[in-house]
C-alpha cells in the first residue's frame, strides 16, 4: 500500500503546484493588461494610395525595463520606417530615417507632429478621415504591440505640444 500512498501524495502535490503555477500565470497576464507597453491616442494622417503618411501617438513604457522601439509594420504600406522631422535652419525643415527610439522604464515618448513619427511609405490604400487602421510596433523587450489608430487630420488637444503651458 505504501507505493499507492506515495503516488497519491505525489499527485496531490503536483495538482496543487500546477494550480499555483496557473495562478501566477494568470496574475502575470493581468499585470500585462494593466501596464506593460502601450500607445496612447494613436492616429494617422489621411493620405492617398501611392503617397506617404505618418503615424503618431504617445508610447507609454509602464514596465521596469528600458526598452527600444526597433521597427514598426503596417499592412497598408510598402515600407515602414522610424523617422524624425528636423529643423535645418530657422525655417527649413527636413525628415530622416532613424534606427531606433529608446524609451526609458516607466516613461512616455511622444511621436508627434514636427518631431518623431512612424513613416508609412507608398500606401497600398487610401487612408480617409474616420478610418481605423492597425499598426504594429516592435520593441526589443516588449515585443510586438498592435494598436488601432484613427485616421484624422489633426491631433486631439492632448496630442498637441502644450508642454510649455
Amino acid at each position: 500500500m505504501k507505493p499507492l500512498l506515495a503516488v497519491i501524495i505525489l499527485l496531490i502535490t503536483f495538482t496543487a503546484c500546477k494550480k499555483e503555477v496557473e495562478e501566477v500565470k494568470q496574475n502575470e497576464e493581468k499585470k500585462v493588461d494593466h501596464s506593460g507597453m502601450m500607445v496612447h491616442k494613436p492616429w494617422i494622417r489621411p493620405a492617398s494610395t501611392g503617397t506617404n503618411t505618418a503615424f503618431f501617438g504617445t508610447i507609454m513604457n509602464h514596465t521596469d525595463v528600458n526598452d527600444t522601439l526597433l521597427s514598426a509594420s503596417f499592412e497598408g504600406a510598402e515600407v515602414v520606417e522610424i523617422h524624425e522631422t528636423y529643423m535645418k535652419e530657422e525655417d527649413m525643415m527636413g525628415m530622416r530615417r532613424i534606427e531606433f527610439i529608446a524609451i526609458e522604464e516607466n516613461s512616455a515618448f511622444k511621436l508627434k507632429p514636427r518631431s518623431f513619427h512612424i513613416m508609412l511609405i507608398k500606401l497600398k490604400e487610401d487612408l480617409a478621415i474616420g478610418d481605423k487602421k492597425s499598426v504594429t510596433l516592435n520593441f526589443k523587450h516588449s515585443g510586438e504591440i498592435k494598436v488601432e489608430a484613427e485616421v484624422k487630420d489633426m491631433p486631439g488637444g492632448d496630442e498637441m505640444d502644450h508642454s510649455h503651458h
Binding site: 494622417r45 527649413m92 525643415m93 527636413g94 525628415m95 530622416r96 507632429p113
Partner: protein, 193 residues
C-alpha cells in the same frame, strides 16, 4: 499736440496695417497646371485678390500637411465670418511626382474647399524659378527605396505660408507648419480695407 496724435493715429490705422512689402513673385508669368489639369498663368491667377500661398510636396507626411491644415483652418474661419474673395494656393515643388491628379486627390482627401483653393504644379524648371523668386528652397534630402526599387525622395524645404496682397506683393511670411491661425486671420483682414 492733438494734431500730432491725429497724424500718428492716421499713420498707424489709416494705412490699414503695418505689414511691409517683403517681395513678390517677379515680373513674369508662369504657365502652371491646377489640380484639375487646367493651364493657368501665375501670379495672374491671384491678381486683385488677397491670397495665402503655401509650398508643399505631397509625399511629405508631417510638415506640409500641417501647413495645408493651417491654411484650411484660416479658410474655415473666413467662411464663418462671411469674408469672401480670399484665395488659397498650394504650390508643389515636387513637380515630377505631384501631377494634377495627385494634387486633386490630396485636396479631396483633406476636404479642401476647391472653390477658393488652387493647387499648382508645372515644369520642373518653371517651379524652380518661381520658388526662387520668393526665396523658398527645396532640396532633395533623404530617400527611401521601396521593394520594387522605386526611390522616394524627401525634400528639405522652406516651411512657409506667404500672405500676398491684391497687387501681388508679399506682405508677411509665416512658418507654415507652425503658423498661428488668429494671426493669419487678423493679417488677412487688415489687407481687406
Amino acid at each position: 499736440m492733438k494734431n500730432l496724435v491725429f497724424v500718428f493715429l492716421l499713420a498707424f490705422f489709416g494705412c490699414g496695417n503695418n505689414l511691409p512689402i517683403e517681395g513678390d513673385f517677379g515680373t513674369g508669368q508662369f504657365d502652371l497646371l491646377t489640380q484639375n489639369g487646367k493651364m493657368i498663368e501665375f501670379p495672374k491667377l491671384i491678381e486683385g485678390k488677397i491670397s495665402l500661398v503655401g509650398y508643399i510636396f505631397t509625399n511629405c507626411p508631417d510638415i506640409c500637411p500641417l501647413t495645408t491644415n493651417n491654411m484650411k483652418m484660416v479658410q474655415n474661419r473666413l467662411k464663418e465670418e462671411n469674408i469672401e474673395g480670399v484665395e488659397f494656393v498650394s504650390i508643389s515643388f515636387d513637380s515630377e511626382v505631384d501631377r494634377p491628379g495627385v494634387l486633386k486627390k490630396y485636396a479631396e482627401l483633406r476636404d479642401l474647399d476647391e472653390s477658393s483653393w488652387t493647387l499648382l504644379t508645372g515644369e520642373k524648371e518653371d517651379i524652380k524659378k518661381l520658388i526662387k523668386e520668393v526665396s523658398v528652397v527645396a532640396v532633395v534630402g533623404d530617400s527611401t527605396v521601396t521593394p520594387d526599387n522605386e526611390k522616394i525622395y524627401y525634400y528639405v524645404h522652406t516651411d512657409r505660408i506667404s500672405l500676398v496682397d491684391k497687387k501681388g506683393n508679399i506682405r508677411k511670411s509665416y512658418i507654415g507648419s507652425n503658423a498661428n491661425i488668429e494671426e493669419m486671420v487678423k493679417d488677412v483682414k487688415s489687407l481687406i480695407n
